[in-house]
């Protein structure tokens, strides 16, 4: 830990990682609160896994066609938005079972990504870093993209806070009040998609759901209102990511996995503690 604290003062890549973690935490806490209360964690999981298709395709085009301006994160944004809109429209309109569609998007996204990565020439260190993330690999260019996405997600989700709250709490009533429920649901899914992309850069595809839900789950024990939950979730997300980075740096552990284990442990501790407190009271 001491090693991290001395190095972070001089090493740009560590400052970059720290900043990425904090930026991603802001969107993660806000959107995570919507996702958890609206109970669409599984949709977020499907979007996260379909991101691999976009990253794989972008990496393939970058290498094979020499499109050097193209970055895997660009592909991730496109794939995440497509997955969000497909799932959204099908769950709103079609008679297909929603969970089947979610499962299909989840698996097809991964499969397409793996095909692209397999066909991309060169050494494929990318697959692992896409799946499990590597916050220490974030570059200054990535940081700009991450900051931009973050600003967009935060602005939209706060501007339509009242509408999104009503749609998450009681969709039918919101519809009766003339709120365009389908539109806001799609907006929420697109915001979730963008947040997922931010988190993929931090912890990788596989562990996105954990970062989206665990800070909110901890915050849920203390929050009485949705925006309280959002603030607390942002705080916990920043705490988990910073602590994960700090702890993992010295012994050279994978940062993403360390972060998730830490978040999971605190969640379990808070859950047991609150049950204990409730039992004592009753």
């Amino acid at each position: 830990m001491a090693e991290f604290l001395t190095d972070v003062q001089t090493q740009w890549f560590l400052q970059c990682a720290l900043l990425t973690g904090i930026l991603a935490s802001i969107a993660c806490g806000i959107i995570g609160s919507y996702v958890v209360t609206r109970r669409i964690t599984y949709i977020a999981g499907a979007i996260a896994h379909s991101v691999l298709a976009g990253m794989g395709a972008a990496r393939y085009c970058e290498t094979v066609y020499q499109w050097t301006w193209l970055h895997p994160l660009h592909g991730a944004v496109v794939a995440a938005l497509i997955a969000a809109i497909v799932i959204g429209i099908i769950s709103l309109r079609a008679t297909e079972r929603e969970d089947t569609v979610i499962g299909a998007v989840w698996a097809i996204g991964m499969a397409v990504g793996i095909l692209f990565i397999h066909k991309t020439p060169g050494y494929n260190e990318n697959l692992m870093s896409y799946l499990f993330g590597n916050i220490l690999m974030v570059s200054s260019d990535d940081l700009w993209l991450i900051a931009g996405l973050d600003a967009l997600v935060v602005a939209v989700s706060l501007l339509f806070y009242n509408q999104l709250l009503a749609v998450c709490f009681d969709e039918e009533f919101a519809r009766v009040r003339g709120v365009k429920v389908e539109f806001y649901y799609l907006v929420l899914l697109c915001l979730t998609a963008l947040t997922v992309v931010l988190l993929v850069a931090v912890v990788g595809i596989v562990m996105v759901i954990a970062l989206l839900t665990l800070p909110v789950a901890v915050a849920g024990h203390f929050a009485r209102r949705l925006w309280h939950m959002m603030l607390l979730s942002v705080f916990f997300a920043i705490f988990f990511k910073t602590a994960g980075l700090t702890i993992s740096y010295g012994p050279n552990l994978p940062t993403g996995a360390t972060t998730i284990v830490l978040a999971g442990a605190l969640y379990l501790a808070v859950t047991f503690a609150s049950r204990f407190v409730r039992l004592r009271r009753s």
Binding site: T37, R177, R224
Partner: protein, 252 residues
């Protein structure tokens, strides 16, 4: 608007995935009526309410509210759903819930306006919830939660109030208070409520619609204790899709 019907259903049928829920329903609700929709579970009471709200589209027939399609006049309708349909863990305060009733009439983004907050305060006071306005919705008792949802329905100052089982999970004292309040509100708004408890409600409401796939409406004045039994007995038989009993009921 006086004497013009508030709600008109003309030979409305509704089926869900091919299973008929309501058949050939014609119903008129006049201004300042206080109609109770009664009937057995899964008899189509909530479906009828949702057709009036325009949340469901009739398979056949027409629904008109204030002479128009329900979607067009939703700003004039206050709606209270069954509270069991809401997530009990949702982090939301009493005031947050009531303010949702102002959504359609305000801006489509950003903060609520001062007029919205004033209207919410007024609705909260009317329902005696002002002191708990900052409490978590999930921390309230069943009766308080029902009142929060009624406040949310009233905060938009509707001309028509639709309530789905407003007294489910509420004890008798609160139920009486609630009906007294609705009787006062009935002075200036039309009220339609769904209930499974006709015996209690009949002393407050002006007319009763008995729903079990088909709808039979009565003015309350015609209803006697015997008739209640008859309606319920009849309903129970009508669940078995027996059209002959329905005819008998119409005669009664």
């Amino acid at each position: 608007m006086t004497n013009s019907p508030v709600i008109t259903l003309d030979t409305v049928s509704f089926s869900y995935d091919g299973v008929p829920v309501l058949e050939d329903v014609s119903l008129t609700v006049n201004e300042r009526d206080f109609l109770s929709i009664v009937g057995p579970n899964a008899g189509g009471k909530t479906t009828l309410l949702k057709l009036i709200l325009g949340l469901l589209k009739p398979t056949k027939g027409t629904v008109r509210v204030f002479g128009q399609l329900p979607e067009k006049v939703r700003s004039q309708i206050g709606y209270m759903p069954q509270y069991a349909s809401l997530d009990p863990l949702f982090p939301v305060s009493v005031l947050d819930v009531v303010l949702m009733g102002r959504l359609g009439s305000g801006k489509s983004f950003g903060l609520y306006r001062a007029t919205d907050l004033d209207a919410a305060d007024e609705a909260l006071k009317k329902m005696e919830l002002y002191d708990v306005r900052h409490a978590a919705f999930s921390a309230l008792s069943g009766g308080q939660r029902q009142r929060v949802l009624i406040a949310r329905a009233l905060v938009s100052d509707p001309d028509l109030l639709l309530l789905d089982e407003p007294t489910a999970n509420v004890d008798a004292i609160i139920e009486t208070e609630l009906y007294e309040l609705l009787r006062q509100l009935n002075d200036h708004m039309t009220i339609v409520l769904v209930t499974h408890d006709l015996g209690f409600v009949s002393q407050y409401v002006k007319s009763v619609a008995c729903v079990s796939r088909r709808v039979v409406a009565h003015p309350t004045s015609e209803i006697t204790g015997e008739m209640i039994n008859e309606i319920y007995g009849c309903d129970m038989r009508m669940v078995r899709h027996d059209a002959i009993h329905h005819e008998e009921n119409t005669d009664g």
